[in-house]
Symmetry: C2
Subunit: 267 residues, 2 copies
């Protein structure tokens, strides 16, 4: 195989949400570098590749970004086909843009393969359409992670009339709630908190914005999770988790009252 | 096979951007209802299914939404497994939420399969990361289509500091430009216009916002196209189309000046 780096979106977790192109890239890989949040089940598509874990997770021991980049470069320069597997999509909060640019500047061929992003998959599994005619004409994906130093205008996000999907927000719930309320978003705005989007262990809980902290604490919300904020969360039909996604756990939450946790009640 | 309706995202056009789950759904389908914008190459995964074209396109003869829904219902009630193939993702401007709700209210089992949305794939093929640390901490997807009667707050969209991706905007370029400029977005803001995202016929062109109409006219921009608006369009490395996506057409646009059309120069 030719030397090349593929930056591949592994999707949100469900191994079936991988694209055919990602499968093809994995089949060609001599080296696969895999992030923490990627479901290892996906490695079934590269049984002969050397797999290197290069996870990064807030607060834990992690692999420095510069080291990951140099490692990709070294393997590619040695003539190997490298796949870097990233959770979700490589260019939605995945640093794919930075890595592609850095490698290309060093003469390495790079190809990016899109993946399904966790916010989309999580919402879908909860029966929440991110856009809905007459309710929401768009969707905004943002990260609450503060190592990113680009600005966020909460006032504009609250006023945008788009569904808001917030990644990496679990540690910053108080700030998110306070900023959105201060920006004029009604306290009654429904929020879905979705943990482990699309995985068998997916859990989801709904709350009005003004009760966000209390509900999250009761629910024991943990990372990784996405927040979906907007009227689509309460839209007719939007409250039924897709039962087949949850490994046989039967769910029927269509008639849940607003504010009722959508947690997996059956065990 | 059991009666069921799958609402399946066919992705942006490139048949390799289909998910494994979509392939599985197609393999089970007795009836496949396919939208206009879906690449028919995807039908290779359902050689034995009955295929029904139910396209809708602005300005052309089209299949009424109510008819499509009744058709899905009829086939499902006759015990058939139905796949409704939609361009991109079913719940991002795809009416998936409405259709799922309508069918579920009539006792039909529905499963939604996510797809890669055209705005994401088009940007990736042009080397544009939708988010980029220090430049853009989020991305907003909106439709310019006006049959959707939910509000859009252009002022908020311009102020959000997220990358803006506009679907179905070709017929409304003048309005989009005027609204964003009136909302205070700098005229120098770079815009990428991407036609036929991810398909061999993909074409892309870049313009500062203030020259949008003129450049689009010179480029002869046609539907379907997405607009990507924000500084990521000019980010280092963001201007190189992924050559492998374009069926052997060699492209090297890394050194293009801002404002230079990114059109396929080679034929």
């Amino acid at each position: 195989m030719n030397a090349k780096v593929w930056l591949v979106g592994a999707g949100p977790g469900d191994p079936e949400l991988l694209t055919l192109k990602a499968v093809r890239a994995l089949g060609q890989a001599a080296v696969v570098m895999i992030d923490d949040l990627v479901n290892p089940a996906i490695l079934q598509h590269c049984p002969d590749a050397r797999v290197i874990a290069v996870g990064k997770r807030g607060g834990c021991r992690s692999t420095p970004q510069a080291f990951i980049q140099r490692l990709m470069l070294r393997h590619a320069r040695q003539g190997r086909c490298v796949v870097r597997l990233k959770g979700g999509d490589p260019c939605i909060f995945g640093r794919g843009g930075e890595e592609a640019c850095w490698l290309q500047a060093r003469g390495i061929e790079v190809e990016v393969v899109n993946g399904i992003t966790a916010g989309l998959a999580g919402a879908t599994q909860c029966g929440i359409p991110l856009t809905l005619r007459g309710i929401s004409r768009g969707v905004t994906l943002v990260t609450a992670h503060t190592q990113d130093d680009s600005p966020l205008n909460w006032q504009a996000l609250a006023a945008s009339a788009t569904t808001l999907v917030i990644y990496m927000g679990v540690a910053r719930l108080a700030d998110i709630q306070q900023q959105l309320l201060a920006a004029g978003m009604p306290g009654s705005t429904p929020v879905a908190m979705i943990e482990n989007a699309s995985l068998p262990g997916q859990r989801a809980c709904r709350s009005p914005l003004y009760q966000l902290l209390q509900r999250a604490a009761e629910f024991e919300l943990k990372s990784p999770a996405v927040l979906v904020i907007g009227e689509v969360v309460n839209a007719a039909g939007a409250l039924e988790l897709q039962p087949q996604a949850l490994d046989g756990v039967a769910l029927d939450l269509v008639f849940a009252q607003p504010g009722t946790p959508l947690a997996l009640l059956a065990q």
